[in-house]
Structures are given as C-alpha cells and as structure tokens.
C-alpha cells in the first residue's frame, strides 16, 4: 500500500517539493516520520514501523534522465515532480547524443547525496527511476513522436537507441552504488531487479510496440538482469507483446488486466496486480474487496502473485485501505487452504 504525495502533504504537511529530492537529511527524516505515522494509523493492518530507523535512500521521482537531457522539472508540495517535454525538432533528434550522465546535473547532485549518505550511515539504498524507452522518448520529442511512428520511423529508432543507452548507463551506475534498481519503480519486485517503467506503452498498439519498442526492451533485458516491467493501466492489448520480451521475470499490471490471459501467455513470471487508486478513492470498501478477490480468483499460482495499491490520494477512506489489505491477506489464505484440500 502506498500513498501519493498529496496524501502526505494534506494530512501531515510532509512536502515533496524540491527539498525532498535534493536534501537527503530532509528525505530520510520525512521517511522515518512516515513509517511512524503509518504504524499509528494502519499498524493494525501491517503498515509502518513503531520505531523506524533512518533509511538512507536516494530518490528523484521519474525525472532524472529527462532532467539530464535538459527538460525543465516542475516540483510540487503534493505531487511527484513532472518533466516538461523538450519537443526537440527532427534535426535536434538526429544530432542528439547520450549525455555524460554522471557529470550532468542533477545526477551530479544525486552522486553527492550518495557519497554523503554513505559517509553518514555506512550505506546508501534506494534507486533512481530511469523512465522507460517510450516514456523518455516522449519527454524528448513530445507528442510528435506518436506521429513519427508513421511518418519518420528512422527518427524513432535513432531516438530509442539513445534512450536505451542512457537508461543502461544510469541503471548500471545506480546498481553499483546501492545494489538496487526496483524500489523507485515498484516496492513489489526484488530490490536488485531492473523494472522498466512502461507507463506510456498503454497508449500505443501492440503492432507499434513490437516494431518500435520491443527491440529496445530486449536490449535492456539482455543487459539489466534480473528484468521486469511495470505497465500502467490495463495491459490486455499488450499481453502478446510482453510475451515476446526476453528474460522477463516480473510484470506489474494495472487495474482490471485479464490475469487469466496473462497466465496463459506467461505462466512462469511473477505478476503484481495493482488496485486502481481512483477506485480506492471513490468506491466502497466492499467494491475494493471485490477488486482484490477478483485478482486472487484469476491470478494463481499464488507463489507468483502479489497485489498492491499505490498512489492513493488524499481523501482515500481508511476503511478502503483496510479492506484492501485485509481482503488480500484473508482471501488469499482461504484460497490457498482450499487448494490444499
């Protein structure tokens, strides 16, 4: 279970503005407070810790690589940071090269933070969300990229080559420092796993994915292992495409994805199924419980299934949080017991 910055800011005044990402002491202190708050409010359903210790982690939202390439970043007290698209021209894209990531701001600041946390705590944890190939491509080219699939395929491949190389360089560095890659994308994958954020893949057809994105995802999965994918939203139309991703061990899918079909295509991967934060906000606790039961009923085998609800906004009823967690625990135990009989 995870809460969006607005929940933290409007309930408890914990800001996610620029200070959160650039002041490691502020961030570590905020996280400690958050663990205590979660325990006080939801300890009965297993959230938080009564006596949390400092966790010396790095974080930069989903905007590190866009910022390195030159995107303007907007910070908010109550939202994750947002990278404004660069809208590079065709000429600029064909002249684009992979930047010197480790010597470009804000990565230089992240490295300083890593050095500081290591010296203070003896270790540094956490990871940096690399953004995915399509996600990053859209930040650099803007919405024109959607038209490029049809009008300028060569540009798309040139751009995605650069995005892929930048992602590899960033991921390899971060893993060398913290040993982790997953936490900045999802808490549900093994921390050492690289989980590719495929948030915008939901906007393209499987045919466009297979022609333009899949080759680069396979390059990433060959280099960054273990490998997983995070897909925002319902993934049904992309499942056959994801089945062609090599070395895929973990797939996180959005609400209402056809898990039965997913299992037919990819029987051996771990699936994390997400509950919709919009439904967490608006629906009754019984409707949320039903969403959880539906996932459990269709998502077996249970040693390869997990469920979470992240990005829950300010105003999400506490009873929905409890309903989600209790149903996930109780109903899965009930189903597993039934299987053993």
């Amino acid at each position: 279970m995870g809460f969006y910055p607005s929940w933290w800011y409007k309930n408890y005044g914990i800001s996610y503005n620029k200070e959160y990402y650039h002041d490691p002491d502020y961030r570590v202190d905020a996280f400690q407070k958050q663990q205590k708050i979660l325990y006080e409010r939801f300890g009965d359903v297993g959230l938080g810790k009564p006596d949390p210790q400092p966790e010396p982690f790095v974080d930069y939202g989903m905007v590190l690589l866009p910022a390195v390439f030159g995107c303007e970043i907007k910070f908010f007290d109550d939202a994750i940071p947002w990278a404004m698209p660069l809208n590079l021209t065709e000429k600029e894209i064909f002249e684009l090269k992979v930047p010197d990531i480790l010597n470009t701001y804000p990565m230089t600041d992240i490295i300083k933070q890593m050095d500081y946390l290591e010296s203070k705590y003896g270790r540094v944890t956490g990871s940096i969300n690399t953004t995915g190939v399509l996600n990053l491509g859209l930040k650099l080219r803007g919405d024109q990229l959607y038209l490029d699939f049809y009008e300028n395929p060569e540009l798309v491949h040139h751009l995605f080559n650069i995005c892929t190389e930048a992602i590899i360089q960033l991921a390899q560095y971060v893993k060398s420092r913290t040993g982790m890659l997953a936490p900045a994308v999802t808490p549900m994958a093994p921390p050492e796993m690289y989980v590719l954020p495929d948030c915008t893949v939901v906007q393209i057809s499987r045919e466009v994915f297979e022609e333009f994105v899949l080759p680069y995802e396979n390059r990433l999965s060959a280099v960054l292992r273990p490998f997983g994918i995070h897909h925002c939203g319902k993934a049904d139309h992309m499942l056959e495409g994801y089945a062609k991703v090599q070395n895929l061990e973990f797939l996180e899918v959005g609400p209402m994805t056809d898990l039965k079909r997913l299992r037919e295509l990819m029987p051996n991967i771990h699936v994390n199924a997400r509950i919709d934060p919009v439904r967490m906000l608006n629906c009754t606790s019984e409707e949320i419980a039903e969403d959880v039961r539906r996932i459990i009923d269709t998502g077996a085998p249970y040693d390869k299934l997990s469920i979470d609800a992240v990005g829950c906004d300010y105003g999400t009823p506490d009873e929905n949080v409890r309903a989600m967690l209790k149903t996930a625990r109780d109903y899965s135990l009930e189903r597993m017991a039934a299987l053993q009989q």
Binding site: S6, A79, Y146, L147, F149, Y150, H237, Y314
Partner: protein, 212 residues
C-alpha cells in the same frame, strides 16, 4: 460520391497528403465544401472515434488521422461559410490547474474538431479564472475539463464553483473526463456531462448541445 469515400478512407488509412489531394479533387468535381466536410472528413473521424472507443486503434493512429483531417480542413476552411465553420458548437478545453498530462485532452480536442466543433484549447494547468475568461471571450457552448491525476481533482470542482460564483453556470455546459474522474464524481460535483474517453467525449458534447 466516390471521391468522398476516398477522403474518408484516406483518413482511416492515415494518409494526410491524400486527404488534401482528394479534397481538392472533390472541389474541382463540384462538391460543396460542406458536403466534403460532413461526408468525407467528419465521416472518416467518426470511424476513427468508434475504433478508438473499441480499443482497435490507439493514440498514434488517432493523431495521424486528425492530422489527415486537418490537411483536408485547410483546403476547405477558406471556402466554408462562417456558419459552417462551427456547425456543432464552441468548446473551450483544458487540463485543470496543476495537471500537466495533456495527451488525453489533446485527443478530445482533435476528435471534437473532427466532429465539427470549434475548439479553443487552453492547454495545461488551467486555473478556473482562465476557463471563465476564455468561455466569456469565445462565447463557449461547452467548457471541457480534463484531469488525469487524483491530486488535481479538487480543481475540477473548484472550476465549476467558480462558474457558479461568476454567474455563468447556466450559460455553459460543463463536461469532465480523464483518468482521475469517475462518472459518479462528475455528477456529484455538478458537471453536465462525463466522457470516459475521447470518443465518448464527442458523443457527450453532441448530446449536451442536442446536435447530431
């Protein structure tokens, strides 16, 4: 009629240069600009809208179909009479304050234009007062708000309230949509219409203004 069918097909097969060429040919063949608009361009975008609704096509296809439609509109616009340039109604559209996710809003804007509405796109991060100013300036029939993240939902309601306080609520229809919005919520806060996606938004806009 064959040339009008060619225009429609050129939109459905994503060929902007052909749409432009066929629109010119249709004019040379004596078709009225309004006929070409309705039976060629709008007919083509209607097919696109239905396919998008059924998840048969996605954002790139809608955008290139819209580009193809615009290529035809550029040929016809100088010839269309003032009454035909906004045959359906005027829509002011934007994403609400603090929301920078605009692809959904862009799709809605294109689909509405393709369906014959005049669209004034205010962009992203639009404060309530900006929606009001634009609605007044352009004498909008509809104000359409997009909201993708739940943390900006409060601005949807705030904008509707702002219209009430400005004494303009009964002068415009307000429709809302986007990933963060559910139909019940839209009704609760007093919106006149809710569109689950870009294609539905066009249907809602038509229904609000009672046009076909």
């Amino acid at each position: 009629m064959a040339i009008l069918e060619e225009i429609k097909n050129a939109i459905i097969t994503y060929k902007p240069p052909l749409v432009k060429q066929y629109c010119q040919q249709a004019l040379e063949q004596g078709y009225k600009p309004e006929e070409i608009l309705e039976q060629g361009l709008i007919a083509g975008m209607n097919v696109i809208g239905e396919k998008f609704k059924r998840n048969e096509i996605f954002v790139p296809e809608v955008l290139i179909a819209a580009k193809a439609t615009h290529a035809g509109l550029d040929v016809l616009k100088p010839l269309l009479s003032a009454s035909q340039t906004n045959t359906r109604g005027k829509v002011v559209i934007g994403t609400v304050k603090d929301d920078y996710h605009d692809i959904g809003k862009n799709l809605v804007a294109m689909m509405l234009e393709g369906a014959g509405f005049k669209v004034i796109d205010l962009g992203m991060d639009v404060a309530p007062e900006k929606f009001i100013a634009a609605a007044k300036e352009h004498e909008a029939d509809i104000v359409a708000m997009s909201c993708l993240i739940t943390s900006t939902l409060n601005w949807v309601e705030a904008t509707i309230k702002a219209f009430q306080e400005a004494g303009l609520r009964d002068k415009v229809k307000i429709m809302v949509g986007g990933g963060a919005v559910m139909e019940d919520y839209a009704r609760e806060i007093g919106a006149d219409g809710y569109g689950k996606n870009a294609s539905e938004a066009v249907d809602v806009a038509k229904s609000l203004l009672k046009v076909s």
